[in-house]
């Protein structure tokens, strides 16, 4: 376990370094933030002074080294646009995104896993066909269309729920529903495949043969062993959860990290983009490590050497 965690940590540092380098090179080799921040008729002296103050004239490797030295001290610089520390801005928006993503994953798991088990247990029944087909439709539906259609139905037509903003529980319903629906299809299909695989194993047939209750065979013998691929899928989907939340946050004007980053990219607000990318990458690495550790817990045969 300790060896695994050390190796994981080293790999994470390499990935984070590569990512920061990539994003740093990309944002810095592109447009000039000074042009966006100063009025178009600013004098060359003003432009020069401003560039000098932001350290934009130094060679790229030097700027990257400076960025990295500050970053390890949790300092990503000041937002060019808002004048506040970039990391503080990111930290301030993070809870909103985590709330949205957390609820969406929870709803998707609470619905998707039982539905997947049902389709596997009642294989080739009407339920199976209906749910599996719906899952495929769900996987093929653009997440932003679901969002806009839910606004059309629940906000414009029925006037039950607010179409944008945040604050109350009612504001959560549509964004969480949209994002959860986006995850649901894949989860149902993975659960179904995993359960079908396990239900065919000798120990499950043995349990049935000795007269064990169907309920106990399904949930105690089969389900526990089918959870491993399902947990993997949830871990892999976290990337899509955060990606999908960028779009969901845009549709519903949800004040999360995704919207902050999209706006920062439009405005070429480098420090905020870099802090945001760093935070998201760190979050995903943490989730993936947690998924790997949970394997060992779900299946004692797996050793994290």
């Amino acid at each position: 376990m300790a060896r695994y965690l050390v190796r994981r940590a080293v790999l994470s540092v390499v990935v984070l370094l590569a990512l920061t380098m990539l994003v740093f090179a990309m944002v810095n080799l592109s447009g000039d933030p000074v042009r966006l921040l100063l009025p178009p008729d600013a004098s060359p002296e003003t432009v020069e002074a401003f560039r000098d103050r932001l350290g934009l004239d130094d060679p790229l490797p030097l700027r990257y080294a400076r960025f990295l030295a500050a970053a390890v001290q949790a300092d990503f610089g000041t937002s060019i646009q808002l004048g506040e520390p970039a990391l503080a801005l990111v930290a301030e928006r993070l809870p909103a995104t985590l709330t949205l993503a957390g609820w969406a994953v929870l709803v998707a798991v609470a619905l998707g896993v039982p539905l997947g088990v049902l389709t596997a247990v009642r294989r080739d029944s009407g339920w199976d066909t209906a749910i599996t087909s719906l899952a495929l439709v769900g996987q093929s539906t653009p997440v932003f269309w679901v969002g806009v259609m839910s606004i059309l139905l629940f906000s414009v037509q029925l006037r039950w729920l607010p179409s944008s903003g945040s604050g109350t529980a009612a504001h959560l319903v549509l964004p969480v529903g949209t994002l959860a629906l986006f995850l649901l299809g894949g989860l149902v299909r993975v659960t179904r495949t995993a359960m079908l695989d396990v239900l065919d194993r000798a120990y499950v047939r043995t349990a049935t043969a000795k007269g064990q209750l169907r309920r106990i065979v399904v949930w105690r013998h089969a389900f526990r062993n089918a959870m491993i691929p399902v947990v993997t899928q949830i871990g892999l989907q976290m990337r899509f959860v955060l990606g999908g939340s960028v779009i969901t946050e845009t549709i519903f004007a949800w004040p999360g990290l995704g919207r902050l980053m999209v706006n920062a990219v439009y405005a070429r607000d480098y420090p905020v983009v870099e802090a945001g990318v760093f935070a998201v990458a760190l979050l995903l690495i943490a989730v993936n490590t947690l998924v790997d550790v949970s394997y060992a817990w779900l299946n004692p045969k797996v050793s994290l050497a």
Binding site: V143, F144, I247, L284
Partner: protein
């Protein structure tokens, strides 16, 4: 192989998916033949519901938007853009992914370490954040969009090909080819690639659906092919403001996307059942 294909072709799902895709591809190819241009405005017929005949006698089968532009024309051209960008990005991703996967699986060592490192890094970040950073940095255009989708979409192909190559390179037929003096590029092209091809066909079809959705998502955020070229995602986003007065502007492009991606995914499913059972 022949029997496999025949059984595949006999399935209702296969034919249904191919029929829907056929209609959509035909509509996309024939888009320029539609009598109205997608940017033509008719300011006396704004927000016309589907099926409207304007006072001037113009027929709008799917209605018009806030500038009186024909939604049918916009959807036809948008579908064309979606399929074009998706296909080009898929070709690029397939090429890069197959090449890197073959090299990594065949040579192992540091080549493998570099390729695996790159895939791990790309898989750590949500694709959309990478795409947003790239597109904001160099500006949105059709070429940039294809390059971004293609150069981030190769990861799954590389992983697939690498794993399969790794498994095959100690097989007798590969060792025999070596013994007969076939050089490495020859072994990869003539002996390894044909064995990976069925897997690539399955994964490529499913990835195509994902790429079309990704393109639509970026267009929705305003980062796709820039106006005046209509895109399905762009038309959908434009309609969100007018949901209360004109439901059709946002609803219809989503339905087109859904039909297109559903048919692609269904086709991928039938191919997987036929070529890579259990996979």
């Amino acid at each position: 192989m022949n029997r496999t294909w025949r059984r595949w072709w006999r399935r209702g799902r296969t034919r249904g998916a191919l029929a829907v895709l056929g209609v959509i591809v035909f509509a996309a190819l024939a888009a320029p033949l539609y009598p109205r241009d997608p940017t033509d405005q008719d300011l006396r017929a704004t927000f016309a519901p589907p099926g409207t005949v304007s006072d001037a006698g113009a027929f709008y089968p799917l209605g018009t938007d806030e500038l009186g532009r024909d939604l049918a024309a916009r959807l036809l051209h948008g579908t064309r853009a979606s399929l074009g960008v998706g296909a080009a990005a898929l070709a690029l991703a397939l090429t890069v992914g197959t090449l890197l996967g073959l090299l990594a699986g065949y040579f192992g060592g540091w080549v493998d370490a570099v390729v695996t490192g790159a895939t791990e890094t790309l898989m750590t970040l949500p694709f959309i954040l990478l795409a947003i950073a790239v597109i904001a940095a160099v500006g949105a255009s059709e070429t940039v969009l294809i390059l971004t989708l293609g150069l981030t979409g190769w990861v799954s192909f590389a992983k697939l090909v690498r794993a399969k190559t790794f498994e095959l390179r100690e097989e007798a037929f590969v060792l025999a080819a070596h013994a007969l003096g076939v050089r490495s590029p020859g072994v990869m092209a003539r002996h390894l690639l044909p064995n990976v091809a069925p897997l690539l066909l399955v994964d490529g079809t499913l990835q195509f659906g994902a790429l079309v959705l990704a393109e639509a998502g970026l267009s929705f955020l305003g980062l796709g092919v820039p106006p005046p070229t209509p895109t399905l995602g762009g038309v959908l986003a434009g309609g969100q403001t007018f949901l209360a007065v004109a439901w059709w502007i946002s609803t219809l492009p989503g339905l087109v996307l859904l039909a297109m991606v559903l048919a692609i995914n269904l086709l991928g499913d039938t191919l997987r059942d036929a070529l890579a059972p259990g996979g």
